[in-house]
Point group: C2
Chain length 345, copies 2
């Protein structure tokens, strides 16, 4: 039986999202239980009103809540009894296999690093996310914003982490195809750091396919796309902005006159299918990678449907033992490195 | 009468694109003439077969062509009689107000820098492009790939160049709203270089509106978005990739079954309007900014419709005297800087 710890109070909305999401998630996953962390009475009331299966839920009391705009260091120092921190501590103490929170990203990352620590050899954790690509493929991209100024060695560490996670979650014949996000396919392209990272990746034992440009993220031809947190975040938010802009443009065109409005009625099934396929809620759930525990960050503004998808992500990771596989993979690659020339393999 | 110099041989296709584009462009713009640079007989034949108005065309003979995959330094050293270089030399010699080429980007930039030189105070030229935004707004973004490792001062120079170009092309009351591409709106966000650039921009006389995230490029709330060439190129190609991916997903949904196929027929007018609105050919024509001359880079793989839009871009710049206004604006801001504390204003 898998147990997940949920920061029941986190996010823009809190319990009105997390409680119904917990109910929906438990109803579709029979072999899992939840530790709902938050104010005992409030959580109890919200779960009852959401009709959640209480036999598979335990409420863990926490008196404080980290605010969405609270400075990470402030939360770390002053909110030791927050629902966010207690949820992470369930993972640390072995009572849960993963923690999920829709709270303040900076505070969640700072708390997760402080409580769980990074894996041996890993300097800093990264934020990773599966993104939809052609042919139903899912591409893992990292880092999405945790680390703005990265060294080539850190980019290499992200590549190892991403590769091991992808391999843990997918049972394909070949190891994950790793690409370095760059502005051209040639070896000589990119910033100095990116060029150095190219060298490290090329001489590593990863299945490195070379530089990928940002229009190839969706091609299905790459499994793991590595970038520093600044560039990764820019790419992610450009996607979000483009999708929103295009959605607006389609809507405007469909509403332009009576002819297009009439036509829109006929196209509703297809447009509905399209909307469902790219529904951002389905891709909710960013993964904090490189920690000694699984932590999933839900979008702060998502609804119950979206939060339940973040719970799914945590469940899949726990079920696939991704953390153990990542830790073993990282240790092995660094052991090989130390036995040879000291360079990561 | 405005005169534009055209690299008639450049691009993936060459004359079969540039000659019909020249014909279409001249037919819709009466007060302009073209210097078509390339192999005399081949250009003549292509123009005749495209039915171009020959009374407003002069052919300038060039014996060589820069290959699309040629190393920029090789082209610079060995192709002194290329159509690309001779076209740029028409601008240098005052025979044309702007040059347009669909050739090799690296070679075009290297040749333009070598022949025209940068404006006083400008260390390196940038590549800029107008992108579609909400409400029909056009947002100028730079740098799109000419400079991968930038200093804060260079980002400030790009902001000045972009701002002056926007002001020259648009007669609005307020000066261009300049935003710094970043991963959050707070002052403290971003890489070290970006944080330094934020300080320079904040204390400058530009209409600096602060950091903008990449999903705000399309909001219409910013006129000029400044980034280093690595980040700008990643954002641009992410947009292109997302548009293509979404277009493919819509097509798949419309073709899913007989119901959606039937519905698609009704939605054709709206989808056609949508496709036309975001047609990348309409946004063809990247601007090389910071040189002592106007150079427009057309996409290498565009067709005659797209190449004619790049000619339009060159025409608008020449007509608005953008170069003189940019040069004057740059000189004035640096004079103010030198008279005070030496920091750019």
């Amino acid at each position: 039986m898998i147990t997940l710890a949920v920061d029941a109070m986190g996010g823009d909305v809190g319990l009105d999202v997390t409680a119904p999401a917990a109910a929906a998630f438990l109803n579709r996953q029979p072999d899992v239980r939840l530790l709902m962390v938050g104010h005992q009475e409030q959580v109890q009331a919200a779960l009852a009103s959401a009709g959640a299966p209480l036999d598979r839920i335990e409420i863990v009391h926490a008196t404080e809540v980290v605010a969405m705009d609270e400075a990470p260091q402030h939360a770390l120092k002053n909110k030791k009894d927050s629902s966010m921190r207690i949820a992470i501590e369930q993972v640390k103490g072995g009572k849960a296999q993963a923690a999920v929170s829709a709270g303040n990203t900076g505070a969640l990352m700072a708390t997760a690093r402080f409580v769980l620590k990074t894996l041996p050899h890993i300097e800093r954790p990264a934020i990773a996310k599966f993104l939809p690509a052609q042919g139903g493929h899912l591409t893992l991209m990292l880092d999405l914003g945790a680390n703005v100024d990265c060294s080539a060695e850190q980019l290499w560490q992200f590549a190892v982490l991403g590769s091991e996670l992808f391999n843990a979650l997918h049972s394909q014949k070949q190891p994950a195809r790793v690409g370095l996000l760059n502005i051209g396919s040639e070896d000589i392209k990119g910033t100095e750091v990116v060029k150095q990272a190219f060298g490290l990746l090329k001489s590593s034992s990863l299945n490195f396919i070379g530089n990928v440009e940002s229009n190839e993220i969706f091609s299905g031809g790459v499994d793991v796309v590595v970038a520093d947190g600044f560039v990764g975040n820019i790419a992610l938010k450009t996607m979000e902005g483009t999708v929103k802009f295009i959605g607006g443009a389609i809507k405007e065109e469909l509403n332009r006159n009576w002819l297009t409005k009439l036509g829109a009625l006929g196209a509703l099934p297809a447009l509905g299918g399209f909307k469902k396929r790219l529904d951002p809620r389905r891709f909710n759930g960013a993964i904090f990678l490189g920690l000694r525990g699984v932590v999933i960050k839900s979008h702060g503004g998502t609804d119950a449907v979206g939060f339940a998808y973040a719970l799914d992500e945590a469940y899949h990771e726990a079920q696939s033992n991704s953390l153990e596989r990542i830790a073993a993979g990282v240790a092995q690659r660094f052991a090989t490195a130390e036995a040879s020339d000291g360079q990561p393999q």
